[in-house]
């Protein structure tokens, strides 16, 4: 009986996670999507805690805590800090390749795709996997799509972040956090990656005085 409920909860939480992701996809301005991301991270932390509760592996609580701390507090702080003295127009996604409205639809397609792709994977009737695996893949694909779609370098970072959340959920789902050291390593890598990319952002904005990756086309072969 209780299992039933947890199932529903899990599916429900997954849905919320997806909605949060759509929220990020639709956000145009930097502050907006950062907020959305913070919201998504909190949901993710909750999901992590849920998984910890279901599997009863205590390390995962640590992971959840870390997620909460790093993703919903540190990373937004870092980003805000490094981009504090960027002009505002750099921070807004002016014209993505696909309009944000259409991109929501595409994201929906991607969710469907991920469900379609993950069907052949044997779940061994593992409720967690069967619930969160497609969602994590979907997060991953959506994040990828966001990077592809956006023109502003700053707004490509958000794609990275979504991908990273997807990865986190994915590894958590499949490994049940057994290899926590590695999770830590992944965290560290992502964190450094974000920092480096934001340093790069500064460099770009200084040398190209724009964050439009369309400007980054000196190195090409035609």
């Amino acid at each position: 009986m209780i299992i039933m409920e947890t199932n529903q909860i899990m599916i429900f939480s997954g849905a919320i996670l997806l909605i949060a992701t759509f929220g990020i996809v639709t956000r145009r301005g930097f502050a907006d999507w950062l907020g959305a991301y913070r919201y998504q991270s909190i949901v993710l932390a909750a999901v992590t805690a849920l998984i910890a509760y279901v599997t009863g592996i205590w390390e995962i609580y640590i992971a959840a805590g870390l997620t909460l701390v790093i993703k919903s507090i540190i990373i937004p702080k870092v980003l805000l800090y490094v981009t504090r003295n960027l002009e505002i127009e750099f921070k807004v996604e002016t014209n993505p390749y696909v309009s944000l409205r259409a991109s929501v639809i595409i994201s929906a397609f991607l969710v469907a795709l991920s469900y379609f792709l993950t069907q052949q994977i044997p779940f061994k009737s593992d409720q967690i996997v069967s619930t969160y695996l497609p969602i994590s893949i979907a997060l991953f694909l959506i994040g990828l799509f966001v990077i592809v779609n956006r023109r502003s370098a700053l707004n490509q970072v958000v794609g990275l972040l979504i991908i990273e959340n997807g990865l986190f959920l994915f590894t958590l789902t499949l490994t049940h956090g057994v290899s926590l050291i590695i999770e830590m390593g992944i965290f560290a890598d992502i964190l450094i990656g974000i920092i480096i990319s934001s340093i790069l952002l500064l460099r770009i904005s200084r040398t190209f005085d724009s964050l439009d990756v369309g400007k980054l086309q000196n190195l090409r072969d035609d």
Binding site: F116, Q120, L141, V148, G214, N218, D221, D222
Partner: protein
């Protein structure tokens, strides 16, 4: 045989005989490289090369008359052992290499003097020695892998020699063309060997020899086709010849001599190996088409080669084109031999084979001689354009005489060697009626037309080349006040000229050499004998040059005596050439090389597509008839480059241009590629599930 070198092998085993020349060439290379001092450099590089060549000749003759040499050095590299196997076939080609390289290295002592001032002679000597060495190793290696290594080494070194004057842009261009085309050829050879490897599971030629007979029909044909095209590139068959007329003139003349005389024969070597040694050429009519292909390609090569040669103004390029022609003749012989063998006409096959090999060694000799002669002309006049030359005979009598001998031989005049090989080839043609297949008979009968045409045009070519270059009077300052080339160069040429006459008069010497090298069923006879072909029941054909010479001298004596007796002694007065009473003929009024070949251009306008540009300069524009000066320019097209190579190259480049544009510089598109690839692959797996 007349000369029997076994007295030598009593002292030295043939392995040592093989190692000595290699060591000598290496010594020559290194000492050349180390000798900073230019005056010493020339002897230090070329003298070892000469001695090495002598030993090479001895070695090859020893192999031909004795037993073949085989040795293996394992474990240098994984999978491949260094396998050396020198049998008669290799020895025959090694002999060619030895003879020519001896003459050329002798010649080079004098010739390379002019490079002392401008260039690093030491590098040249190094490359020169390595070049000869690589050719020797190519023919003696018995393993596909090492064969290709030496083959590519040969190409590489010759490439460096071609671009030795890399200050000139066109030399670089021709060098690159050469390197690329020869590499293309190598790729095909590689594929052909690999096909063999797939069948046998070993890269050693032995396995090909043993088991190639059991290959499937298709594989045999593929092996042949790939090898034929691949080696054909090096041999310069039309239409894969385009590198040759550019590369050979660009190289220094002594190198062009080596390349044209010896290196392109490596292609012939490869074909002989592939067709007659392995690839399981079963003597059955389903392989007759190999021969037909060879004859067809040979005919095309010979005719188009000689047609380009006859209108060419650059003396070295004309010689290069004539190399293409002669390769064609050699191929015709080989092809006939294959056809005859396919129908079990052993005797005829042997005849055609002998003819072709005879022409191979002949061409090596006289083309080496001619290129050295051209080199001497360039050495003296610093001009390759025959329109600038003329009257050289007066200042350079020796070069002229030797070049004339070369020309007479290549045209195929009795009593020089060219005549013998062409005579043999024609005899093979004349015997073609014994093939039991009407369609083949007729097609071969039609193939004699291009062959005969080739012989005809060849004589025109060399009349023009020799006459314009050496005779009458100097056409401009290039040919004025020049002097005869150094003695070493003349001796170098004289060696080959002597060989021309020797092989022309003592024909059966050459024939018995060939037949003992290739173990052919024909009894070696005393070199003074004539050739006797009992190629059909009715009557035998004879050719005995010594007797012809006797008749010659008899006629000469008789005629002279007769004329003197009735005519008595009469005086000679020298006077100006008849000028129709106008007076002061000058070099401007001489017939030029271009106008000399004008009728030929007109007759073969289909091939040359000539068009003339005449630009007049008038005194007054209103009056067309008062012409101050008139400029005439006759241009011929190269149909192969224009209608075959240009389209291929341009279309390839267009495709490449399309492909490389994916590097747009947009990070978004880059990520899109990744995404698409991932999704496609995943869908593929999912749907295949």
């Amino acid at each position: 045989m007349l000369w029997d070198p076994h007295w030598l092998t009593i002292m030295i085993s043939n392995l040592a005989l093989f190692q000595i020349p290699i060591l000598l060439f290496l010594v020559g290379a290194l000492s050349g490289l180390l000798s900073r001092n230019s005056r010493l450099a020339r002897p230090m590089t070329f003298v070892p090369a000469m001695i090495g060549s002598i030993f090479t000749i001895i070695f090859s003759i020893d192999i031909i008359t004795g037993t073949s040499l085989k040795l293996t050095i394992p474990h240098m590299l994984p999978f491949f052992n260094v396998e050396i196997f020198v049998d008669g076939i290799s020895a025959f080609f090694i002999l060619i290499i030895g003879i020519v390289s001896f003459a050329v290295s002798l010649y080079s002592i004098g010739y390379s003097k002019e490079y002392e001032t401008k260039k690093r002679i030491s590098i040249f000597g190094f490359l020169f020695n390595i070049f000869i060495l690589s050719m020797i190793l190519v023919v003696s290696s018995n393993n596909a892998f090492y064969f290709l290594i030496f083959w590519e080494l040969m190409s590489l070194v010759s490439f460096f020699l071609v671009i030795y004057d890399h200050d000139k842009e066109e030399n670089l261009k021709s060098g690159i063309t050469y390197l690329v085309m020869t590499h293309f050829g190598t790729a095909l050879i590689f594929v052909s060997f690999l096909l063999g490897y797939i069948q046998t599971g070993s890269f050693s030629f032995d396995s090909l020899r043993e088991s190639s007979a059991s290959f499937p029909w298709l594989v045999k044909n593929l092996v042949f086709v790939f090898a034929f095209i691949g080696f054909g590139v090096k041999a310069g068959i039309v239409p894969l010849h385009t590198w040759l007329p550019h590369a050979h003139p660009s190289a220094p003349s002594n190198v062009s001599a080596l390349m044209s005389a010896v290196m392109i024969k490596m292609g012939i070597y490869g074909m002989v190996r592939t067709v007659f040694d392995f690839s399981g050429f079963g003597a059955s009519p389903d392989f007759a088409w190999w021969g037909v292909l060879m004859v067809a390609v040979g005919s095309i090569s010979s005719v188009s080669g000689v047609l380009y040669a006859v209108i060419e103004r650059d003396i070295k390029r004309a010689l290069a084109y004539s190399s293409i022609e002669n390769i064609g003749i050699i191929l015709i012989g080989l092809g006939l031999s294959v056809i005859f063998a396919a129908y079990h006409l052993v005797a005829l096959s042997v005849l055609a084979f002998i003819a072709s090999m005879y022409h191979t060694i002949n061409h090596a000799i006289f083309k080496g001689l001619l290129f050295m002669g051209a080199g001497s002309v360039v050495y003296a006049t610093h001009s390759k354009n025959i329109e600038d030359l003329g009257g050289i005979i007066k200042q350079m009598p020796w070069t002229t005489l030797l070049f004339l001998i070369g020309a007479a031989s290549i045209v195929g005049l009795p009593p020089f060697n060219g005549f013998v090989s062409e005579w043999l080839t024609l005899q093979a043609f004349l015997s073609s009626y014994q093939i039991p297949s009407a369609i083949l008979q007729i097609s071969i009968a039609f193939a004699i037309l291009p062959f005969a045409l080739t012989i005809g045009i060849a004589s025109a070519t060399f009349v023009r080349l020799f006459g314009i270059t050496f005779l009458s009077r100097a056409r401009n300052r290039h040919a004025l006040n020049i002097k005869e080339v150094p003695r070493s160069m003349i001796i170098g040429m004289a060696v080959l000229a002597a060989a021309c006459i020797l092989l022309g008069i003592l024909a059966s010497l050459g024939i018995s050499l060939i037949s003992s090298a290739f173990h052919l069923p024909s009894q070696p006879s005393s070199p003074l004998d004539g050739i006797m072909l009992q190629n059909n029941a009715k009557n035998a054909v004879h050719l005995s040059m010594p007797f012809v010479l006797i008749l010659f001298s008899a006629m000469a004596v008789g005629a002279f005596g007769f004329i003197r007796t009735i005519g008595g002694k009469t005086g000679k007065t020298t006077y100006g050439t008849w000028d129709c009473g106008v007076g002061n003929l000058n070099e401007k009024m001489e017939y030029t090389a271009t106008s000399l070949s004008q009728p030929i251009r007109a007759v073969f306008k289909v091939f040359f597509k000539p068009h003339n540009i005449t630009s007049k300069e008038l005194f007054v524009s209103t009056n067309q008839y008062l012409i101050k000066s008139i400029k005439f320019n006759s241009i011929t097209k190269n149909i192969f480059e224009e209608s075959l190579y240009q389209p291929i190259i341009s279309s390839t480049l267009r495709v490449l241009d399309k492909i490389r544009r994916i590097q747009t510089g947009k990070i978004n598109s880059y990520l899109l590629y990744i995404m698409i690839t991932a999704v496609l692959l995943l869908l593929f797996v999912r749907l295949s599930h």
